[in-house]
Each structure stands twice: as structure tokens, then as C-alpha cells.
């Protein structure tokens, strides 16, 4: 029996750690700069890229026949001597807009020559993905200022700071100032529309509002033009700085310096430089918006969405669950009805999560949201404000989903509070509510926290229902925006790491290229869930300590 139980436990541990190790291994190495290899095959084709995978296969006769005679014989001998297989590697070559593919398999027997050229660059571009190639020139206003790679590199370093500054400034103008002007315009229009809805289009109020509206629109228009002009100027200056690159096949292409997120001559880097590139990529991943259809850049909006949604869910579900459990355990007369309710609650925990998603969509978005829109946001109709998926509805849906967990855990915690405590409190002349608030709840708190931990664990990892109630593949405007009144926008759709994994892994046009990111995002999601749980566990441990007086 010891062997059986111990074996089962061991198997569980192996599976859990195996999973974690796999995810950590794949996810952790995604950002490590790997050497850029130039591979020439027997037909004289050349490829440039980094090896992302390697395995082996058994070559068939057709393949062997296509080889030159002496190679084929040598290979046959090699195969006969070995296990019948030869190696092959997956080379990430990119330059997608020129070649139309991201990856190439190269079979080891076909490789004629292989090296790691010193000036092979990997250029991470802002919106076209990666480029593998060699620098051939640095252009300012069309004039070629540098020709040799070291000189080009020098120039790039020299100018990239100023270019980046202009780029950021333009971005800021676009996102904040232009956004503000847009909203002012929108507000003016909405106010006019409200007056129209309230008073009618022929009223004096409407005409007065119309004059006001026109005056404001005029002001905004001028502002608008000033900002767009400024943005255009900055972009135009930046467009003067260009990097000329050449693919390994000799095709040339121009890349604006402003479009270069990162250019790395990997083959020249020592361990220290590689590490700094690695960390820099991680930092970008954690803090930036996604680029290039989610397959590049960061996942900050998804991290934010996941954490905020989980916290919001917790804030909703814990009080509700605790109150419901209190009623069931402390107030309701124990009997058949209460048992029935209890069974129903327990069964609710087994309902597939997508069902909650459908309910959330049908009830929150379609009924509540549409109702709120009609009442408070009638001016923006038919554009929905609350009548669609959003952070708040997603949190409420998940709160509903995790409610049984909290109720069951809380009930358990409440029933574990000894009756002698309650009696002691009543004997002191406490009312029922005083007893619950001062004695029962504090005593049950660690148990309630356990429920909360379980709810967080379940809620943070849930994806299916979110697709129906507001998770989006691309939602860069966060639900909290300090630059914009009223600063929180619970109605906005949001990004979620779980959904992001699904989107990147299965929905993007090149899921092969995105696979490393899938692992990394998974690693991040696991990390976040673990961190959220650790925080809760830590709080619970503190509560326990305080309760039992061991300091």
C-alpha cells in the first residue's frame, strides 16, 4: 500500500514538475540571442537565420537519389552504421515580406558549408517582424554616409537616440494630445445629441447648444491641425534616417531607423552582451504593447488585464460568497431546503465554464449592459458602451463562476468555528451579528482566505468564458487611464494572458513563428497565478499567526 500511495504521489509530482520544467525550458530560452548561421547547401542555395529546433528523420530513397553520387554513398554508409536516421534543423530565416516564409528545414546531409558571419544582424522591426541580413549602408536624406558594417553600426548608434526621442514624442502626441482633442470633439457632439434627444431639434436650447458646439468644434479643429502637423513634421524628420540592409540572397531593403526596435549583431556578442539583450527582450515583453499581430513585442496589456480582472473578481466574489455562506450556516434553519441549496451550490461548481460565459454574455452584456446604455449612454447609441463585453462583465462572470468555491470553503470554515465560541459571545450579551462579526468571522478568516485562493487560482486560469464577455486579441487602451477622466473604464474590453496564448498559438497566421512566444506567455501566466496565490497564502499565514498569538 505504501508503494501504491507513494507511487501515485510520485507520478503526480513528476507530471507537475515535468510540465513546469517544459514550460520553463521553452519559455525561458525564447529571448536568448542565438548565433546567426549562414548555411549553404549542395545546390548552392544559401540561408541565414538561427536554429530553433533540431531533430532527426529517416531519409527515403528519392532523397538519397537526388544527392551527388559520392555524397549518397557516404550517407548510405553512415545511415547503415547509425540508427537509420539523419539530423535536420529548423532555421528561422524570416524576412517574411520578401520570402513569404518564416522557417526553413535544412537536412544535415545537404549542408555544404556553414559559418557564423561576423556582421550578420537580426533586426527587430516595429511592424514587419524580424529581418536577418547584413548592413550595407546608412542613409541620411538619401545620402549614403557609411558603407562598411562597422561605420554603419557607428552611425546607427549615433543617430538612434535622437530618432527614438522624436518617435516617442510623436507617439505621445498621437495617443494623448490627439486623443484628448478627439474626445473634446466627441463630447461636444454628444452634448448636442443629448439636447436633441431631450428637447428636440427645433428647440431654442438645441440651437443654443448648436452654437456652442460649433464654437468648440472650431477650437478643437485648430488644435487638431496643430497636433497632426507636429506629428507629421517629427515623422518626416525621422524618415530621413534609413538603414540599408541586404538579405543573404543579395536583395536590398531600406528600413527606417525609427522602425528598428533592436538590431543585434549576435555573432559578435560575448556572454555579458547576450545576457543584456536577453533581459532587454524580457523587459520589452513585460512592459510593451504587442506588435505585428501579437507575434512580436510585449504583453503588458494582457498582464494588466489578467491581474485587474482577477482582483476585481476577487473583490466581488469574496464578500458575496461569504455573505451567502453566512446565511446558509448561521441564519438559515438547517433543514431539507438548506441541504438542497447546498447541493445546488456544489453542483454549480461543476458546470462547464463556457456555460457561465454564455450566461454572462446573455445577462450582463445583453440585458444589464443594454439597459445601462439606454439609461445613461443613450447619446452614443447605437455604439454600445456597456452593452458589449468588457472588463467589468468579465469579472462578474468569473465571480459567478468561482462563487461556489468561496461559498463551500467559507461554509467549511464557519462550521469549524467551535460552538463554544459562539456561546461564550452570546453569554457576554452579544447579538447574533456582533457574534458573527467579532468572533466567528475572524476565526473563520484563514478558511475564507483558502476559498479566496482557490477562487483566484480558478479564475485567473479561465479563458473560455472570457471570449464571450470581453477578452479581446487586441485592446491596447487599458481599463485604467490616468490621462483621461474618469480614469477607470470598466466597460472597456481587455486583453488576457490566457486568451493571448490561444490567440498567438492558434489564431495567428504564422503559429510556427509564435510558438516560442506561446511558451513564454504560458510561463508568465503561470508565474502570475503563482504570485497572486503566494500573496494570498502569505496574507493567510499572517492572519493565522495573529490569531494564534505566535509572534
Amino acid at each position: 500500500m505504501v508503494w501504491l500511495t507513494g507511487g501515485s504521489l510520485g507520478l503526480c509530482l513528476v507530471m507537475i514538475f515535468g510540465l513546469l520544467a517544459l514550460v520553463a525550458h521553452h519559455g525561458g530560452r525564447t529571448f536568448w540571442p542565438r548565433p546567426i548561421r549562414l548555411v549553404e547547401d549542395l545546390q548552392g542555395n544559401v540561408l541565414l537565420g538561427e536554429v530553433t529546433e533540431s531533430d532527426s528523420f529517416a531519409p527515403d530513397e528519392g532523397l538519397l537519389a537526388s544527392l551527388p553520387e559520392e555524397h549518397a554513398t557516404a550517407l548510405r554508409a553512415e545511415i547503415a552504421a547509425g540508427d537509420g536516421e539523419v539530423g535536420r534543423r529548423l532555421l528561422r530565416t524570416e524576412n517574411f515580406e520578401l520570402t513569404g516564409v518564416h522557417y526553413h528545414w535544412i537536412d544535415d546531409p545537404f549542408v555544404a558549408e556553414e559559418r557564423t558571419p561576423e556582421w550578420a544582424l537580426v533586426v527587430e522591426r516595429r511592424d514587419k517582424g524580424r529581418f536577418y541580413g547584413f548592413p550595407t549602408g546608412f542613409l541620411v536624406e538619401g545620402r549614403r554616409l557609411a558603407e562598411t558594417p562597422p561605420a554603419i553600426w557607428e552611425k546607427l548608434r549615433e543617430h538612434e537616440g535622437a530618432v527614438l526621442e522624436r518617435f516617442d514624442r510623436a507617439l505621445q502626441l498621437e495617443e494623448i494630445d490627439l486623443g484628448r482633442a478627439n474626445r473634446a470633439m466627441n463630447d461636444a457632439r454628444l452634448e448636442l445629441r443629448e439636447v436633441e434627444l431631450d428637447e428636440g431639434i427645433d428647440s431654442a436650447a438645441w440651437r443654443a447648444q448648436k452654437v456652442e458646439h460649433d464654437r468648440r468644434v472650431e477650437g478643437v479643429q485648430a488644435e487638431f491641425e496643430r497636433i497632426t502637423g507636429e506629428i507629421g513634421r517629427l515623422r518626416a524628420v525621422n524618415a530621413n534616417y534609413q538603414l540599408e540592409l541586404e538579405t543573404v540572397e543579395g536583395q536590398q531593403t531600406l528600413v527606417g531607423v525609427a522602425d528598428v526596435v533592436r538590431a543585434v549583431p549576435v555573432n559578435q556578442l560575448g556572454l555579458h552582451d547576450k545576457l543584456s539583450v536577453y533581459l532587454d527582450r524580457w523587459w520589452e515583453f513585460l512592459t510593451e504593447d504587442p506588435r505585428h499581430a501579437n507575434s512580436e513585442g510585449g504583453v503588458w496589456p494582457a498582464i494588466f488585464g489578467t491581474v485587474v480582472m482577477t482582483l476585481l473578481m476577487t473583490v466581488v466574489v469574496v464578500p458575496f460568497g461569504v455573505l451567502a455562506a453566512l446565511y446558509l450556516r448561521e441564519y438559515a434553519k438547517q433543514g431539507a431546503l438548506v441541504s438542497l441549496v447546498r447541493i445546488a451550490v456544489n453542483n454549480l461548481a461543476g458546470v462547464p465554464s463556457i456555460v457561465f460565459g454564455v450566461f454572462g454574455f446573455g445577462f450582463f452584456c445583453q440585458i444589464l449592459g443594454v439597459g445601462i446604455d439606454e439609461l445613461l449612454f443613450s447619446a452614443t447609441l447605437p455604439n454600445p458602451t456597456y452593452g458589449k463585453g468588457g472588463l467589468m462583465w468579465a469579472s462578474l462572470t468569473l465571480a459567478l463562476l468561482t462563487l461556489p468555491v468561496v461559498i463551500v470553503a467559507t461554509e467549511e470554515a464557519l462550521s469549524a468555528v467551535p460552538n463554544s465560541m459562539r456561546e461564550g459571545s452570546y453569554a457576554c450579551g452579544a447579538t447574533k451579528w456582533q457574534t458573527i462579526r467579532r468572533i466567528v468571522l475572524p476565526r473563520a478568516q484563514p478558511g475564507i482566505m483558502t476559498g479566496m485562493i482557490l477562487a483566484v487560482a480558478r479564475g485567473a486560469g479561465e479563458v473560455a468564458p472570457l471570449m464571450l464577455v470581453g477578452a479581446a486579441k487586441w485592446a491596447p487602451s487599458l481599463a485604467v487611464d490616468l490621462a483621461q477622466f474618469p480614469y477607470v473604464f470598466p466597460e472597456r474590453s481587455f486583453m488576457h494572458l490566457g486568451f493571448h496564448i490561444y490567440d498567438v498559438g492558434f489564431q495567428s497566421q504564422n503559429s510556427e513563428a509564435a510558438r516560442p512566444l506561446v511558451y513564454t506567455t504560458t510561463l508568465l501566466l503561470i508565474g502570475i497565478v503563482v504570485v497572486l496565490n503566494l500573496v494570498a497564502v502569505w496574507i493567510r499565514a499572517r492572519m493565522r499567526r495573529r490569531l494564534h498569538g505566535a509572534r
Partner: protein, 322 residues
């Protein structure tokens, strides 16, 4: 105060007390001298034998109430009190008065309804749905079960300590001032004062004064029970109900609690349930003997132990029965 853990009826002559005590502690080996001592008290017996059968069969009988207890001023008066748990009657027509400023003990075999009677005084039985009562209990003249009585207010006038120490999961300080807190007292000074005086009253102050903010659950069992007593007296109750306060404690802690009850005498009216004869005789002024939900004999502790009027009482206090 040192005391030996022997049967020492209060204010009895020392020589006799010691003789009785040694006889009772070693009652298995040498019962004869004890019975010889008690033989002299046979005068008042009304119904020789057969009373327990009489009770068990449910026939009516008059409990024996000694005249001395009737004269004291009563703080709790139980008057013809019946109580049912569902269909089973647990208390039958109990009438007894607890004198003010004295310690009254309830003794009797386990299951005879001592706790039930005690819990009826502060209406803790209200928490049990199946309980039904008849008759009256009065606290300082106010009816407890009258219509429109505020149970919460009533319980504030009565302190209760339970069999198992039940300190609340909070600091020592908060435990003691709990009843003031639920009354909404916020004033730091009042709370501090109540805390100190109650802890001193419960003889716990010196042991815990440096760690008032520590959790009460970290105290030893005996300390916890004294803390519960401090909590009960913090509200300055008119009566203190103790339900076998020492049964979960070791002998040393028991001795401390007994000393404490001695000190409380005069300041509080105490009603204590115990099934330890020695304890009843040591701490109480009056003792009531109950059997199967009925009061059998009630009188000053000394006479109940040394010269019981009923043979059944004698049998019980000497340990021949129960």
C-alpha cells in the same frame, strides 16, 4: 492561599473537617469511619430509601429545603420551573432561590439537568430550537422569561463561564473588554481600567500584564479559564454562572480557580455546577442536590454534607451512589 485538596466544609470545625476529608479521599479503602461519622446525622430523614425509584417513576414528592436558605435575600429565584428538550422533560418543577453574595453549588449525577438549569438562568437555552419551558425564573425580582424581556440586556446582567475554557481568538485585552466593546465603549481609559480590574479580580493580572496584546489562545488552560472569569466579571454582572469550570483543568489550576471563587464570594453571587463533591464543599455556602431533573435537597453546604436529611443525599455525597 494554600489549601489541601480535601473535603473541608466551610466554617466547620477543623478537626472534624480533616477527619471527614481523609475519610472521603480514601473512601475505597476505609469507608467505615466515614459512615460512622455520618451516622449521627440521621435525624432528619423523611423517606427512608425508595426516593430515587420514586423519582424515576415520576411520582410527585416534596424536595427538602433547609430553613436556613429560605431566609437569605435572593438574587435568582427559580419558581416551579419545567423544561423540555422536544418531548423529553429535562427539568421538573424546580424551585430554589440563590442567595445574594454567596456561592451556591449545584451537584448531582451527570445528566441530571444541572447545566440545563444554569443555562436557563441566562436563557442560553433559547439558542436550541427544541426547548420549551414553563414556570418562572426571576433575577433581582425581574422576570427572566416574561414577555418583552430583552435577552441581550438580560445576558449582560449575568456572567457565565463554561466547562471548557473558550477564550475568543483575539488578544487578552480584547477578550476581557469584549462585553464593553459590544456595548460600544470606545474610551481607552474606561477600557484599560475595566481590563485591569477584571484581570486583578480573576487573579490573572500579574501573569499577563506584560502581554495584554498577545493572543489569548497562547495562554495555558488554567489561565484561559481565569481569563474567561475575568471576561465574565468585566461587565459587573449580578450573578456569575459557572458550569463545571475546573473539569478540564489540572489540579493546580483547579486550586487557583477555587481560591478565586472564594475571593469572589461577597462581591458576586455565584451559582456553580460541579460534580466534584470536594469542590462543592470547599467553595460553596449552599448546595443543591439534583437528581433526574428534580431538586432533591437544598441547604447550607455544611449541613447537606454532614447531616443530610435524606438518605439519598447522603449516599450521593459520600460516593456510595452516583
Amino acid at each position: 492561599m494554600e489549601r489541601d485538596h480535601a473535603l473541608t466544609p466551610k466554617r466547620s470545625s477543623d478537626a472534624r473537617g480533616v477527619a471527614l476529608a481523609s475519610a472521603m479521599t480514601e473512601r475505597t479503602e476505609s469507608r467505615t469511619p466515614l459512615i460512622a461519622t455520618l451516622e449521627r446525622a440521621e435525624t432528619g430523614r423523611t423517606r427512608p430509601g425508595g426516593l430515587f425509584e420514586c423519582i424515576a417513576e415520576g411520582r410527585v414528592f416534596e424536595p427538602v429545603i433547609h430553613d436556613e436558605v429560605a431566609t437569605d435575600e435572593a438574587v435568582v429565584e427559580v419558581d416551579g420551573f419545567d423544561l423540555w428538550y422536544g418531548d423529553t422533560q429535562a427539568l421538573h418543577d424546580i424551585s430554589l432561590s440563590v442567595p445574594k453574595g454567596k456561592v451556591t453549588a449545584l451537584i448531582g449525577p451527570s445528566g441530571c439537568g444541572k447545566s440545563t438549569l444554569l443555562r436557563s438562568v441566562n436563557r442560553m437555552n433559547d439558542l436550541i430550537d427544541s426547548v420549551r419551558i414553563d414556570g418562572q425564573i426571576r433575577l433581582s425580582g425581574d422576570s427572566i422569561y416574561g414577555r418583552g424581556v430583552d435577552v441581550i440586556e438580560l445576558r449582560k446582567r449575568i456572567g457565565m463561564v463554561f466547562q471548557k475554557p473558550n477564550p475568543f481568538p483575539m488578544s487578552i485585552y480584547e477578550n476581557v473588554v469584549y462585553s464593553l466593546r459590544i456595548d460600544g465603549v470606545r474610551d481607552r481609559f474606561t477600557l484599560d481600567e475595566a481590563c485591569e480590574s477584571s484581570l486583578r479580580g480573576a487573579g490573572l493580572w500579574d501573569e499577563v500584564k506584560d502581554r495584554l496584546q498577545n493572543s489569548a489562545l497562547a495562554l495555558s488552560g488554567g489561565q484561559q479559564q481565569r481569563l474567561c472569569i475575568a471576561r465574565a466579571i468585566a461587565a459587573e454582572p449580578e450573578v456569575l454562572l459557572l458550569d463545571e469550570p475546573c473539569s478540564a483543568l489540572d489540579p493546580i489550576a483547579t486550586g487557583k480557580i477555587e481560591d478565586l471563587i472564594d475571593d469572589l464570594e461577597g462581591l458576586y453571587s455565584v451559582l456553580i455546577v460541579t460534580h466534584n463533591m470536594q469542590q462543592a464543599s470547599r467553595v460553596s455556602d449552599n448546595t443543591a442536590f439534583m437528581y433526574l431533573g428534580r431538586l432533591v435537597e437544598y441547604g447550607p453546604t455544611e449541613s447537606l454534607f454532614l447531616s443530610p436529611r435524606l438518605k439519598e443525599t447522603e449516599d450521593y455525597v459520600t460516593g456510595r451512589f452516583g
